[in-house]
């Protein structure tokens, strides 16, 4: 049986196909666990995990916290809004101080790309990257692919298109890497200013016509327009209405297709911008499956990383 051999989960980059398979198999068992009357197992009961969120997040943090609690870990939460970061403390110092209180693992969300990698080089506990700026968000990509694997059986040869705000998304890069690792063909689609030039170097197709992209793909992963990151002086597109007209996933667009793709959305949704309510609420939508699977996948990652702690003495 292949095993997971990494000390941290910093990104999808560096993971092998076997690593992802081990995570998925473990997640499958945890999904079973969280659907039981008693949703908890004692695996991590002697561990303390710190969730360090230097940037806002609701669902990722909630999902991690639930995953930790269902593994019986002790959890401490930290958010930048109420912290001494505002008083000028550096990231490494903040984390060292928290570790001095005997914390065994760190989940880190940070606005700067590479923050998790930097921290991994400074401190000696497992780190899970829960999003570093616009760089990677590995657990989101894993849960997206896990959800698709559940639905489709395999991603080998499947066509997946990521729509929307690729430029500001940490989900996009991780997703591209994870999908390619699992054998899927990947396309990105959005307005020219929202697709960074370097994306074509990842071996993905780039398309600017939404209908063409929808016709091509088996799966549509629709990303959120990050309203808070749109340029204040020079906007990336003229208006939300304009965006919706050009790139909104509407029922009308879906109905025009011979076979409608499976729709994913990492949340939070801007209804009426990148996705119309009729599409988001369709019976076959798997957006809420993603949320459920998020807990199972994060339990698997925590479990696999924790298993390496303290095992070296024998």
């Amino acid at each position: 049986m292949a095993s997971f051999s990494h000390p941290h989960l910093l990104g999808i980059r560096g993971l092998s196909r076997d690593d992802v398979d081990v995570i998925f198999q473990t997640a499958k068992e945890f999904k079973d666990v969280i659907n039981r009357p008693i949703k908890k197992v004692p695996s991590l009961r002697d561990l303390t995990v710190a969730n360090l969120f230097f940037e806002n997040s609701t669902r990722t943090r909630l999902s991690f916290e639930l995953a930790q609690k269902r593994l019986s870990a002790d959890v401490v939460n930290f958010s930048a809004a109420s912290s001494s970061v505002k008083k000028g403390e550096t990231l490494a110092d903040t984390v060292r101080n928290i570790l001095a209180m005997k914390v065994d693992m760190v989940v880190l969300r940070h606005p700067h790309p590479g923050a998790a990698h930097y921290l991994a080089s400074k401190i000696g506990v497992p780190i899970i990257n829960a999003g570093d700026g616009t760089h990677e968000h590995p657990t989101q990509a894993l849960l997206d692919c896990f959800t698709l694997t559940e639905r489709l059986g395999t991603l080998e040869g499947k066509k997946v298109c990521i729509f929307g705000d690729i430029r500001h998304s940490r989900v996009a890069l991780s997703n591209v890497r994870c999908l390619q690792l699992l054998g899927a063909e990947v396309m990105v689609c959005g307005p020219v200013p929202l697709i960074p030039k370097h994306f074509s170097s990842l071996g993905v197709k780039v398309e600017h016509d939404m209908d063409a992209a929808l016709g091509w793909c088996d799966v549509a992963n629709v990303l959120r327009i990050q309203l808070e990151r749109q340029g204040a002086e020079v906007p990336f597109f003229p208006s939300l209405e304009e965006y919706h007209a050009q790139y909104g996933l509407t029922a009308e667009r879906m109905d025009r297709l011979d076979s409608a793709p499976i729709v994913l959305h990492p949340g939070p949704m801007n209804r009426g911008v990148e996705i119309a309510s009729e599409v988001a609420d369709r019976e076959d939508a798997i957006i809420l499956d993603q949320v459920e699977n998020g807990v199972a996948v994060r339990m698997a990652v925590l479990y696999l990383l924790a298993g390496r702690l303290g095992g070296s003495e024998d």
């Binding site: 068992e29 008693i38 004692p42 298993g307 702690l309 095992g311």
Partner: protein, 182 residues
């Protein structure tokens, strides 16, 4: 490992299974309020064989038979270099109000069964819980756990390995082997 010694030959194996099945029927009757639960990974074979044999004896329906994975309940997590890969739990019935027989192939330190008790209780509250094993490695217990139904008690060294081999899973005939370290 040195050459394996045959501890139970195919004929003895069959007689032992038969005896265990009869003992279970004696205690549990038609199994309408009882269930067999095999512990992953290797207890599931014994549970399934017993269930088949009991069905033959009763000439009726097959006793409920589930599979329980205990990986997340083990007490040696983080004492190994790597976490163990979990196997599937298949329980298509609720254990509430049932008389449950936990089934494993070899009872050794008792730690697996301790974990199985915890894992099973996470699925509900059975009326009673009993333990059936094919092999009881005596004098090796690390926890106060004993089996109610025992196929064969064996004396073995901690360094030795007792392996139950199933014809439909491991090939060859049903047998139990004891192997020595090299």
């Amino acid at each position: 490992m040195g050459p394996a010694k045959l501890l139970i030959n195919p004929l003895q194996f069959r007689l032992t299974l038969d005896r265990l099945a009869h003992q279970l029927v004696e205690e549990h009757g038609d199994f309408s309020e009882s269930a067999l639960i095999g512990v992953q990974p290797r207890g599931i074979h014994l549970a399934s064989r017993l269930s088949t044999r009991i069905q033959e004896i009763l000439g009726g329906t097959r006793p409920r038979c589930g599979e329980l994975d205990i990986t997340f309940f083990r007490d040696d997590f983080r004492r190994r270099g790597q976490p163990l890969q979990a196997a599937a739990t298949n329980l298509n019935f609720t254990v509430e109000e049932l008389r449950v027989v936990v089934v494993d192939d070899v009872l050794y330190t008792g730690r697996t069964i301790r974990a199985a008790m915890d894992a099973l209780l996470a699925h509900g509250r059975p009326t009673t819980m009993e333990l059936a094993v094919l092999i009881d490695r005596r004098f090796s217990r690390e926890l106060p756990i004993e089996a109610k139904y025992v196929g064969r008690s064996v004396d073995s060294l901690d360094s030795q390995r007792v392996k139950v081999l199933w014809s439909d899973h491991d090939g060859g005939e049903d047998r139990v082997e004891l192997s020595n370290p090299t």
